[in-house]
Amino acid sequence: MRYLPLTDADRSAMLSVIGAGSIDDLFADVPAEARLSAPIAGLPDHASEMAVERHMARLSANNTTAGSVPFFLGAGAYRHHVPATVDHLIQRGEFLTAYTPYQPEIAQGTLQVLFEFQTQVARLFGTDVANASLYDGSTACWEAVAMAGRITKRGKAVLSGGVHPHYVETARTMAKFTGDMLDTSAPILSATPDDDVLIARIDAQTSCVVVQYPDILGRIPDLAKIAAAAQAQGALLIAVVTEPVALGVLQSPGSLGADIVVGEGQSLGVGLQFGGPYLGLFGCREKYLRQIPGRLCGETVDADGKRGFVLTLSTREQHIRREKATSNICTNSGLCALAFSIHMTLLGGSGLSDMAKLSHIAARKAAAALAEVPGVTVVNDHYFNEFAVNLPKEARQVVRDLADRRVLGGVSLGRLYPQEASLANGLVIAATECTTDEDIAALVSALKEVLA
């Protein structure tokens, strides 16, 4: 077997050093009735590289890829162009096949990357500090809610209707077991976000207000106004950014007063990957440093006084604190953080800004073209690269019919909110710098057919 270096001669020589008669003898502690005497029946035996590649290629071919058709899906995952350099660098074995940097003397590469990543995220979010990443945006969002509870010692989180429904569901699952109360609502298909309704829901029991920026319908809430209202009641503002490219042209949540900013970093470097692995981003005010979940990398010096980096403040973490830890998290999303960081380095502030502007103009063109389709209305006043439209019929079926015409035409609100009849005709359309004028024309023409 190509991944196993031992030969039969090695095995018998090693068994004689050990003083065992066979490999099976080494499993003597397993009760006989639980020990299998042969490979599990009914499963295939080993296969060559060529055979495995062929099998997987067949499965791969049975999908419609985003790059092969006009593509307009967003709602928490975006298709941006990732420079070839990113994938080349993350495949260097020293990054790919390294472990968590618990031995800093021989992990300065990973550690410096994490320190740079934390700084990039903090600057992007406008926060004082950031962590070394979490699993994804949805779990980062829950971790922020839990952290706000620890800080304020209050148990009620108020979530905007504009927060991604999967993020809300994730929080709902966790809150059921921790006893936190979540005040949630579905969005309303209207031009402006629910800022004022949200503010009215904040009270003296509120630990935090959670606002997505831009929201699930692409609208852009006034974070400064919400921050002021939350903080007046002693609650924290958690801003959720599912499309970090937006911050190339929008003010950072931290600069608008958000106390904690979380996000999904997938847009930069990571790719669509059918939903994972993705990259949870997490930044906050420095005064909450010791309540941050997940890993943190910090600067220090070595025995010679040279600058170096280590994982730090681990007294918050499970391997030290066990049941008293701030979180049970034991990994970050290291390789995705590296990909994000490299992409961000290639872009720089000017490149990020350009990419954001090009995504925005593509969305404007799409919105203008769709507004001309009979029966279709564009919902948003303002948006970045994603907006909602109202269709004259159920959007879920429209999306399926568009797919039959080889157009991936957005995410239906019926898929995201199956219980909300009022949203059934809503469709969320995203565009990026990858979107061409031909793609937009194809969407419009297919949509006209489907709606006819």
């Binding site: 991944y3 270096p5 065992a20 490999i23 499993f27 502690d29 009735e33 639980a34 042969a38 490979p39 599990i40 035996d45 080993h46 590289e49 495995v52 590649e53 997987m56 499965l59 049975n62 999908n63 419609t64 899906l73 790919l96 096949t97 472990y99 968590t100 031995q103 003397e105 021989i106 992990a107 990357v113 004082d128 994804d136 945006g137 569901e169 709902r172 059921k176 974070l223 003010q251 990957q273 939903g275 994972g276 692995p277 993705y278 220090t300 025995a303 010679d304 600058r307 730090t312 290291g334 961000m344 380095t345 872009l347 720089g348 502030g349 000017s350 800004s353 925005h360 103009i361 399926r400």
Partner: protein, 518 residues
């Protein structure tokens, strides 16, 4: 200062370093290259990506939240970027460079076929919310891997969405809570052996349980009598690692499981060490109700410097109805259906809900499936056999120079455990570990499990050759001799790594988590 090293330490020409070589003008030492921080190298005007001109783009549709200035993020050109990260990469140790014997972490070879497969466009370039008719192949991967995991563990169902081992633990415990609530039997205590991974008690607490520790016996296993004596109407379940963190098989697991079930509780098995038994023992045959499988351990998806992981959870018949959304189901016509919130009330009404956005770690599923198909049922059995053989070879090749606390009790499983007993006064496990760095190895897991003084947990995995192990054993014997003899130079090791011992106290006392211009 004219030196090209802008990063704050003084290059000093002519001074001798502790190993007798002279320092250089740049701070570099031939192939050992220093690298400045991105923020010292780049600026926001520089970019490695070309875009069309954007000056004329009308931004009015952004509304009042538009920003006035571009973000303060340094950029680099493409050649500078390649060099920055390539130079940084060379300051890392990695499996690709040599033995990486971290106990409980299963650092095995990462096949490059798996990387190629994960990048096939049908997996890498599909959106998680595409209509299911357009992602049948991707759903097929999830379903096929799920079937393998069920067969290999002898369990009833599997939750594929947990994003890492600890997330999988949470999934298992949430299933247990949901099952108890469905029975109207609220219980709030989880029993955890003292040798458990720290994630176990942390997860139990996070899921709202009270954690009680169960002692170990002198032979390194769970004290079955103490555990069964503690069972009662308040005990929701137990979390047991098998093979355990001492590298030993919990012989009594079936007896424990029967007792826990009889008392109305459930058995969670931490599957971190599944690599030791894959293809030879099925946890389902031992009465386990839930077990996470770290795909990044047993099924060799790369660790990536600390993630992403992936932690699917296999479930017993009793717990399967409570598993999370979404999941896949193959239909009679061969197509794959995705069960999400929309269909949950008909097809999976008792689910505890959703644990994350989307479908879990797809990029890890493709890699793990390629790995499993490559090995097949026969190869996976050889994997556990060789992993255990290599660990016992290390154990027996070192137990005359290092104390092996459970070594006399018989063979170990996939990892060999040693203590610092016998080291000279003032010499610690950490000293030996840092000495291993100078020898060109990554240290083993140190000071874990907590039940052994100065623990050193060595997991060689099945992908090490005998010759490679012999050299590692030679290095370990030499270091054991030095630690026992009290070689002072060991106490300041490593001497040859890119950095010497780092001041972790300073890092924690004055946290500097982001770069600030001084």
């Amino acid at each position: 200062m004219n030196a090209i090293n802008p990063t704050g330490w003084r290059p000093s020409i002519g001074e001798n370093t502790p190993d007798g070589t002279s320092q250089t003008f740049t701070g570099n030492r031939a192939l050992q290259l220093e690298e400045a921080l991105l923020f010292e190298l780049g600026n926001a005007d520089r970019s490695g990506v070309d875009f069309p001109a954007t000056d004329d783009i009308d931004l009015s549709a952004l509304g009042p939240m538009a920003r006035a200035e571009r973000p303060d993020l340094p950029g680099l050109s493409e050649p500078e970027t390649v060099r920055h990260y390539t130079r940084l990469s060379r300051q890392n140790y990695a499996i690709d460079l040599g033995v990486f014997p971290l106990g409980s972490c299963t650092m095995k070879h990462n096949p490059r076929l798996d990387e190629k497969v994960a990048r096939m466009p049908g997996f890498a370039d599909v959106h998680p919310l595409q209509p299911v008719q357009t992602v049948q192949g991707a759903l097929g991967v999830i379903n096929e891997l799920a079937q393998w995991l069920i067969e290999l563990t002898g369990m009833h169902g599997v939750a594929m969405t947990p994003k890492a081992g600890a997330h999988g633990e949470l999934c298992g415990l949430l299933c247990i809570r949901a099952a108890l609530e469905a029975k109207g039997d609220p219980r709030d205590v989880i029993l955890v052996p003292e040798s458990a991974h720290g994630t176990n008690p942390a997860t139990a607490a996070f899921a709202g349980f009270k954690v009680e520790n169960i002692p170990a016996t002198p032979d390194g296993r769970v004290d079955t009598a103490a555990l069964t004596a503690r069972l009662g109407p308040d005990v929701a379940g137990v979390m047991i690692t098998n093979p355990n963190t001492c590298g030993l098989f919990e012989r009594d697991l079936k007896i424990i499981a029967d007792a826990v079930h009889a008392a109305g509780g459930y058995v969670y098995c931490d599957g971190a060490n599944f690599n030791a038994i894959v293809g030879r023992v099925r946890p389902g045959d031992l009465g386990v109700d839930a077990m996470h499988i770290n795909l990044h351990k047993t099924f060799s998806t790369p660790h990536g410097g600390g993630g992403p992981g992936s932690g699917p959870v296999v479930l017993s018949e009793a717990l399967s109805p409570f598993g999370p959304l979404p999941f896949t189901a193959r239909q009679v016509d061969g197509s794959i259906k995705l069960i999400e919130e929309e269909h949950a009330h008909e097809e999976h009404p008792q689910t505890f809900g959703r644990m994350c956005a989307f479908h879990g770690q797809m990029g890890m599923f493709t890699r793990a499936l390629a790995y499993i198909l490559s090995h097949g049922a026969d190869g996976l059995r050889q994997v556990s056999g060789d992993a255990v053989l290599n660990a016992n070879y290390v154990l027996r090749s070192l137990d005359d120079v290092l104390d092996a606390p459970f070594g006399s009790a018989g063979p170990c499983m996939h990892e060999a455990l040693f203590s610092d007993d016998g080291f000279a006064e003032g010499f610690s496990t950490n000293d030996l570990a840092k000495g291993l760095i100078d020898e060109g190895y990554h240290p083993m897991t140190v000071y874990f499990p907590l039940v052994v003084h100065g623990a050193m947990l060595v997991e060689p995995t099945e992908t090490e050759s005998r010759a490679g192990l012999d050299q590692f054993i030679g290095a370990m014997r030499s270091l054991a001799d030095r630690a026992r003899a009290g070689d002072e130079r060991l106490k300041s090791a490593p001497h040859l790594a890119p950095r010497r011992r780092l001041d972790e106290t300073l890092a924690a006392r004055k946290p500097k988590l982001v770069y600030k211009e001084s």
